[in-house]
Symmetry: C2
Subunit: 392 residues, 2 copies
Amino acid sequence: MPQSIFGESEYERRIDKTKERMREAELDALVVSDPANMNYLSGYDGWSFYVPQAVVLTPDREEPVWVGRGMDANGARATTWLEEESIRAYSDDHVHSPHDLHPMDYVAGVLEELDADGGRVGLEMDAYYFTAKSYTRLQENLPEATFEDATLLVNWVRVKKSDRELDYMREAARISENAMQAGMDAIEEGVPESEAARAIYDALIRGTDDYGGDYPSIVPLMPSGDHTGTPHLTWTDREFEDGDPVIIELSGCRHRYHSPLARTTFVGDPPAEMKDRAEIVVEGLNAALDAAEPGVTCERVEKAWRDVISKYDIEKEERIGYSMGLGYPPDWGEHTASLRPGDETVLEENMTFHAIPGLWFDDFGIELSETFRVTSNGAETLAEFPRKLFST
Amino acid sequence: MPQSIFGESEYERRIDKTKERMREAELDALVVSDPANMNYLSGYDGWSFYVPQAVVLTPDREEPVWVGRGMDANGARATTWLEEESIRAYSDDHVHSPHDLHPMDYVAGVLEELDADGGRVGLEMDAYYFTAKSYTRLQENLPEATFEDATLLVNWVRVKKSDRELDYMREAARISENAMQAGMDAIEEGVPESEAARAIYDALIRGTDDYGGDYPSIVPLMPSGDHTGTPHLTWTDREFEDGDPVIIELSGCRHRYHSPLARTTFVGDPPAEMKDRAEIVVEGLNAALDAAEPGVTCERVEKAWRDVISKYDIEKEERIGYSMGLGYPPDWGEHTASLRPGDETVLEENMTFHAIPGLWFDDFGIELSETFRVTSNGAETLAEFPRKLFST
């Protein structure tokens, strides 16, 4: 099944690179809990991350071992490239157990079986769904093991995309364009926010004539009116009113790969001040995109934006972008490189970022974003959508 | 804002009950990280749980303290009932920081300020988004504190629903009915799974004539064909074929309250064996619903189901239901009571469960579910949808 999404050689490459980093960190095992990292290494794709699960790598074993809930083992058989002997499942009494059983007790048993219980075990200490309890249960079960923080080990392998990954991100970009257009078409005075969300979802899942869309890792965000200063509120039944600024942030998704896109619109005729500020955001975003090329640091890209806004006496604390691609709820970001001061990550060809600068004032906020790939000598934006302030 | 969803007295009651449990556990502070628990106590509602955040309670302070990312403080102002002095935000360099800063360093500072740094601090050790790293950072910052596992403390307060909560769950049930009907109408031979997902999402967000729908905590699950034995796979572009069994599990959502519903359909004319097995599932589900009433244990409800299937020489390991209501991705379950052997939780009026028994065989799986409320003398199912095997 996953071989139709990625060839087996792509998984081999990913495993090899991960094992190389494991060697550098002198790890005898790596427990991968982040669902995006699990997918990256094994192909596993299911909405089962609400229970603890893992992909376990050891230096000697060619294939990783998938560990999950009994009822999800068939999902692993259907979506991973792994042999049957690499799929292990815990019984259902480990789930929200009244008997003080925990799925990580079972994972500990797998680590013992792999002879890693006395060694250095890497854990994704700050990954989604790897809870504090998961950690203490591993500690209790494996008193001889030494646990090392390997939070972003796989994420750093993910930063440079393969051609096939870029294909899926471009396909996601086509969906993002359609969904953004659908949102722009839906928003007008008197229309409830939920109607616009519905139009956007319809386009996100319809996809294109050639393929449908997957669920995005983040729902379409649509702060409007007084709430454009609250970037992470979701839609309500409130009706758009004349004079509302509306920010739309969304992403198409294809085989779990994203290409996020944000634009700002205005219900009615935008005030001159807002038009001016939107032009500053566009100028700053363009400057950042112009600055991006191999050999340049992330903080240098951010500085190009900062130089523009400081010309207009504006300061902004937040980072303006981050590395992204493959993802599961709650995020499509990779949590590795960020476009911000202090981040000295050097851009390389085929890294992909979501550059999302924004400015928030008392009465309105403006966000405009592009997902871009670092090319051999610059940056390629994946979506094509007019880079301007919209209005209804 | 949240006062329009719940009156302030409802939040007071929730806080009082939580503090009562804190007293029983002799806690000097409680750090609530589960987004559903944060919403329950403060009203906070935003898609910001991809960064660490918390609601902190101490016995003496009337209001809890919300702690989150700087850009989300306005979201807290907009959605919580808290005064300005109860809203604290960390700077953006704590987010995926290149400087070894972590949001929990800031939370530790809040605990110090609340004089809880030398006391017994309750943590939701196994809550989504409370990572191992969040825990070790609190340990490092607060060497004098004693940390106690308070994972389900607030969840157990949530099990009995108020009238207002039940209103929202009933509203969610109306949406679930519409979405299930939309799914049933969309599924036929030659239609891609993504088309059915699109029809379901459309109904989930459209809601009813009186209100729109919120995003559900779990995307519509739609295992079909060979995959009905893989309950957590999501839709693809595969086209439904004659002879496919299809399971739909979905939930409407209203103000974050859910009322999940599952049904099974068949593309074409279902084989006699599948019809027979579906009747067993219906009989078992009905028996479980008939058994539910105040004073009865969760395991007794499951036994009613088990007694039915064992008449037909069928055994099933998995639990058949769980307490639920308020939720955020990745789950709408409360992780407290489950309908399964060994769970001796006694049903009380206004507890709400999703009873989702299923049977999986080599060629097909069948699931049929109902969300129900425990009444004064029985069980009230929230949705009305024919309890049978469907076919196209």
